[in-house]
């Protein structure tokens, strides 16, 4: 059987790989920034899909981990750490640590209570970030120096940064897909389908859910790191709960627990926003109904429009 998920994923990445060559030819080189923004959203959406789509844990605080990753990076840069791999380690340690603690508490609940408690933790993180007076408080912080890769500034802008972000997107996409199909992922999906049954199969399900939660937070943290590198600026607004809502929209719109859905959803959102807001000012008036229509008529999300019945349940 041909694996259409892999085929479509391959096409997406081939297109993204070709963009730095294609866009200038089309005279649309200015769109590179937009694509980076979309890829950063996609990385975070992919990570959220691990816990929502595969784990059935609907978090409304996921963007806070983008914020944590971004601030860990920004504070690292401000303290003179410039090596991006070192910043990556710091980002992973800080987001992972915070996710471990908040996850242990949040996973005492499920369903709408889990949603509420992740929202609460997200807001706590958001307000903590606004109170970091030394790092710009509410207003955020402009960064005067950016991260380097082995001392080279190749990952700071232009194509170098583009390909670095693309590589991160590919790694996130590939890892989350592999995880979802692994023994671990199978237990995670079993716990989503029927937590009591999964427990009565002999699995301590909270342990699996917590690990998934931490992995997802770490990937979102990486998206935060790259966001700093791209925007050369960080502010608490990236951790606001509305951003978490955008991520949920991307994941649901793309198709929960599908191989390529989170990428499709994230690109759709970023491109629609750009496109609609360029035609008229009150673009959100169209955006809302459009979402409603998509959710009603494409239950499996954009991924299902491309290839129906591909939800990776098995």
């Amino acid at each position: 059987m041909m694996d259409r998920g892999a085929l479509i994923g391959g096409m997406i990445f081939a297109l993204l790989l070709a963009m730095p060559v294609l866009l200038p030819i089309l005279g649309a080189g200015y769109l590179t920034g937009l694509l980076i923004k979309a890829m950063l959203l996609a990385i975070a959406a992919i990570s959220l899909d691990l816990i929502i789509g595969h784990g059935g844990m609907v978090s409304l605080g996921h963007a806070a981990f983008i914020g944590v990753g971004a601030y860990a990076t920004a504070i690292g840069l401000e303290s003179g750490i410039e090596e991006i791999l070192l910043l990556l380690v710091i980002t992973l340690a800080v987001t992972g640590g915070i996710a471990l603690i908040t996850g242990m508490l949040a996973l005492r609940t499920s369903g709408v209570y889990f949603l509420m408690i992740t929202l609460a933790f997200g807001q706590m993180i958001y307000f903590t970030l606004t109170s970091l007076a030394a790092y710009g408080g509410d207003d955020g912080l402009t960064l005067w120096s950016l991260a380097t890769l082995f001392g080279s500034d190749i990952v700071q802008e232009g194509e170098g940064l583009y390909f670095f972000v693309l590589a991160a997107l590919f790694l996130s996409w590939f890892s989350v897909w592999r995880i979802s199909q692994s023994r671990f992922g199978r237990v995670l999906r079993a716990a989503r389908d029927n937590p009591q049954r999964a427990e009565v199969m002999g699995y301590p399900i909270v342990r699996y859910q917590l690990i998934a939660y931490v992995i997802a937070a770490c990937i979102a943290g990486v998206s935060g790191l790259l966001l700093v590198q791209y925007a050369e600026f960080v502010s608490p607004s990236i951790a606001a709960w509305q951003r978490s809502g955008d991520l949920i929209v991307a994941v649901v719109l793309g198709g929960l627990g599908s191989r390529n859905g989170a990428i499709l959803g994230a690109f759709f959102i970023v491109i629609m926003e750009e496109f609609l807001s360029s035609i008229f000012h009150e673009w959100r008036l169209i955006y809302g109904p459009l979402l409603v229509i998509l959710v009603l008529y494409a239950k499996g999300g954009l991924n299902d429009l491309i290839h129906p019945k591909s939800r990776e349940a098995s």
């Binding site: 592999r178 995880i179 199909q181 692994s182 023994r183 671990f184 992922g185 199978r186 237990v187 999906r189 079993a190 389908d193 029927n194 009591q196 049954r197 999964a198 427990e199 009565v200 199969m201 002999g202 699995y203 301590p204 399900i205 699996y208 690990i211 939800r311 349940a313 098995s314």
Partner: protein, 245 residues
């Protein structure tokens, strides 16, 4: 194999388990019968750890499992089915069973290799499916199965954990005559390898399967004996068999 020692459980003012003791010997099928609301499911819940007893102990193969969590008791060898069918609906029939096999076969903290591609898990799952007569349904989503097939799948899932003891909560509930007969045959076959505690309303099933029967009324065991003894027991007849039998 299983021993329950003076189990007590209250829901507020309601006493659902009153000083319940019983045991299941290796190779034995012990049935628990009783009217609706007698506390049969609550008893199974306490044995499997879904509910915590207020006092008393549950011993499995001589080991006190009273304070273990649900998953630890399954790992210790308690397999169970639910009165209301409980499977993984989006998984295929095969994967339902393979997931249960996986719990007993090596670590599940493996993150990169495909679980669906593990031949050993699939082979064991296939073997169990053919044992319960569901092999031709292996690739269907569990949600597509008929009620009777779901009951069989639940038994397959329980068997996949290679249990020392099976707890079956009304496995015949909702089955037609022929389906019941098939299931009774299956349980009869399994009985020698898997001691069972069987909660059942279907009297035919109980009299065909059970070596020993306990009659539970209002949380209390009011009679116990072989099926024929219980059938003749006036207290049991009054409490339970009375009207219809």
């Amino acid at each position: 194999m299983l021993a329950i020692e003076s189990l007590n459980k209250n829901f507020g003012a309601l006493q659902v388990s009153k000083d319940i003791s019983l045991s299941v010997a290796p190779g034995q099928c012990h049935a628990v019968i009783g009217p609706n609301g007698a506390g049969k499911t609550t008893l199974i819940h306490q044995i499997s750890g879904v509910l915590r007893q207020d006092s008393g102990r549950v011993l499995l193969g001589g080991r006190d499992v009273s304070h273990l969590s649900v998953w630890e008791r399954v790992q210790a060898g308690l397999g169970r089915t639910f009165q209301i069918t409980s499977v993984l609906p989006t998984f295929s029939v095969l994967e339902n069973v393979a997931t249960a096999v996986q719990a007993k076969t090596g670590s599940s903290m493996r993150f990169f290799t495909s679980a669906a591609g593990e031949a050993t898990l699939n082979e064991q799952a296939q073997a169990i499916l053919s044992r319960v007569g569901l092999s031709d349904r292996a690739d269907r989503p569990a949600a597509d199965l008929s009620h009777g097939e779901l009951r069989l799948l639940e038994i397959a899932i329980a068997l996949a954990g290679s249990p020392k003891l099976l707890l079956l909560d009304e496995p015949m509930a909702g089955l037609g005559k022929t389906e019941s007969a098939v299931l009774i045959d299956l349980l009869n076959e399994l009985r020698s390898s898997f001691p069972m505690l069987l909660v059942e309303h279907d009297m035919d099933a109980v009299f065909q399967l059970a070596d020993e029967v306990s009659v539970l009324v209002d949380g209390k065991i009011v009679a116990r004996g072989t099926p024929s003894e219980v059938r003749e027991n006036p207290q049991a007849r009054a409490a339970y068999l009375g009207e219809g039998a």
